[in-house]
């Protein structure tokens, strides 16, 4: 090897090494931030966790309290939004995967759905404010539920369509060959084969809305007291965290950290669980 080509070779090897080292750094940086966030949450949030947090109401500044009403509100609204959004999402996903082969409408719906999937959630809050809060004249848990349901739909549409298209065509063909009508093929054969995948989608959707704050600010607002009235403003964890964290009171900030820890643990568990469920599915890779 001549001197020059050895130099070139060394240079190429060095570039290669630098680029791969940088990519390693980037990955470690991403992981480091994840663990740093989890560490901060545990460090600040653990001291706030006691039985008070699930038994007492959100306190005025300077006194003892918990997050009971906020936790209740979050659970109720998340559950209601999931209950409303899931059927719509699954039916739309079914349409896309089973009935719209190559049609213009199917493509348009898919395109719009992908846009809604990443649309800013605060705009969805504004929308619900315009169409529900203004006509009704007051903030309400139903409006919050509606905003969350709008966020659930695209997530469920996406995953259920993907999961349905993973079902092998031979299964459908076998059912058709027995003379089964299409609706029965879909409901008895295809759904049964793709159920785990669709369950994963629903769990991911729940995880997504459990921490949503922006759409609730203008819809469900907040409530300092225990309220089960879906027509009135209702406390919910994310908005409480928002208000308490930005407040100057140390005990409110502590509660905000506690709430943040609770939400994060719930969501990460849901995500990991969803992946396990997806793993059982016979067709997902």
């Amino acid at each position: 090897m001549s001197g020059q080509s050895r130099l070139l070779y060394g240079h190429r090897r060095a570039t290669n090494f630098v680029i791969l080292a940088l990519s390693l750094c980037a990955t470690s940086a991403g992981l480091a931030v994840l663990f740093f966030i989890l560490y901060s949450l545990l460090r600040h949030g653990l001291p706030a966790l006691s039985s008070d947090i699930i038994t007492k109401m959100t306190p005025p500044p300077g006194s003892q309290g918990g997050l009971a009403n906020a936790i209740y509100g979050s659970v109720i609204m998340t559950a209601a939004a999931t209950a409303i959004g899931t059927p719509v999402g699954i039916l739309t996903g079914t349409y896309l995967a089973e009935f719209s082969r190559g049609s213009r409408l199917g493509q348009a719906v898919r395109f719009v759905n992908d846009i809604l999937l990443s649309a800013p959630s605060i705009v969805i809050g504004l929308f619900v404010y315009e169409v529900m809060v203004v006509p009704m004249g007051h903030f309400s848990a139903w409006a919050g539920t509606a905003a969350l349901a709008i966020i659930v739909v695209p997530v469920v549409v996406r995953t259920s369509e993907n999961m349905l298209s993973l079902v092998p065509a031979s299964l459908r063909e076998a059912a058709f060959a027995l003379g089964t009508p299409q609706w029965k093929v879909v409901s008895n054969v295809v759904y049964r084969a793709a159920i785990q995948g669709m369950l994963t989608g629903v769990m991911l959707a729940v995880a997504r809305i459990a921490g949503e704050t922006a759409p609730l600010l203008f819809t469900a607002l907040n409530n300092q007291f225990w309220s089960v009235d879906m027509n009135g403003a209702m406390a919910n964890l994310p908005v409480v965290i928002f208000q308490f964290a930005l407040s100057p009171y140390a005990d409110w900030q502590l509660l905000a950290w506690g709430g943040a820890l609770l939400i994060t643990i719930t969501i990460l568990l849901l995500n990991i669980l969803a992946r396990f469920v997806a793993g059982w599915s016979s067709f997902a890779k």
Binding site: L34, P120, E130, G211
Partner: protein, 293 residues
């Protein structure tokens, strides 16, 4: 039938926001978009500071996030031992699962003080002294501001971009890769000359998907942006974004014109993200159409 609902929903969102923002546009005309005024007392509103803040924070996020996303994608496809590939991929994706309010509270109490005490003084002393370019890093280290918001956004959109880029990297036919290796190319050269050119459309689509997320991100930004309706050249100065303005002021807005101006801001934000996301999805869709053919 429900599928039609998805289409109706998009139209309804635009229509509702347009109706809500009518009073503002009627009062200020189109100059609302480039007016710098924001004075609730005098009922005088303009969108420019918020639009500026939205674009600049997203640009900072892209400048930091795109190289990181490339790094992660390269690591996961080329460097990572197969056994670790899935766990590390999942962990990176978990970054996307953390709700934005958690990023906000972490940014406010952990990241901002850290930046204020260590990173920002260093930036001011080094880059801040460079003529002209130094304008970007002028002013006191406040901790809160456009730079902090950009950094948080970068972390938040990293998983979206990284997973799209990784997926399009994996669509490169192994034969192309192997022929390049066979000719003695190094891994870096294979990535630069084979993988990236082959998956260009998908990469741009993934980056724009990240951009669309960054533009609309609300809670995390609201915590750390500093909320000042001003346009400052310095990245260290506090600013505001459309979404942060909405989150902060909407419930306190008195008067129809104030509310309507805020809704008009929302409409502008929705239109901007709509365009970016539509472009992103179009590119990704074209890519998958090509593959299917």
């Amino acid at each position: 039938m429900f599928a039609l609902g998805v289409l109706v929903l998009l139209t309804a969102i635009i229509a509702a926001l347009a109706v809500g923002s009518l009073p503002a546009f009627r009062a200020f005309g189109l100059s609302f978009v480039w007016s710098e005024a924001w004075n609730p007392v005098k009922d005088s509103f303009g969108a420019l500071p918020a639009i500026y803040g939205t674009l600049v924070t997203s640009l900072v996020a892209m400048a930091l996030g795109v190289p990181l996303a490339f790094g992660v994608a390269i690591f996961l496809t080329e460097l990572c031992p197969p056994l670790l590939r899935r766990p590390i991929g999942v962990l990176i994706e978990l970054l996307a699962a953390i709700p934005s309010i958690i990023y906000g509270i972490w940014g406010l109490f952990v990241l901002a003080p850290f930046l204020q005490q260590t990173v920002q003084p260093a930036l001011i002393e080094t880059l801040g002294q460079v003529p002209f370019f130094g304008m970007l890093f002028a002013g006191p280290p406040l901790g809160l501001g456009i730079l902090t918001a950009g950094i948080i956004l970068a972390v938040m959109v990293l998983p979206f971009m990284a997973s799209v880029i990784r997926d399009v990297f994996l669509t490169v036919p192994p034969m192309l890769r192997e022929s390049a290796y066979g000719m003695g190319a190094t891994t870096a050269e294979v990535i630069r000359d084979i993988v990236i050119p082959h998956s260009r459309v998908g990469i741009v689509g993934g980056i724009m998907l990240g951009l669309g997320r960054a533009l609309g991100e609300t809670m995390a930004v609201t915590f750390v942006i500093g909320n000042a309706h001003r346009i400052k050249a310095s990245l260290l100065a506090p600013g505001t974004t459309i979404s942060a303005t909405l989150a902060n002021e909407f419930n306190e807005a008195v008067g129809d014109l104030y509310t309507s101006s805020l809704i008009a801001l929302g409409l502008i934000l929705f239109v901007i993200t709509l365009i970016v996301l539509a472009a992103a999805n179009y590119m990704l869709w074209r890519l998958s159409a090509r593959e299917g053919a």
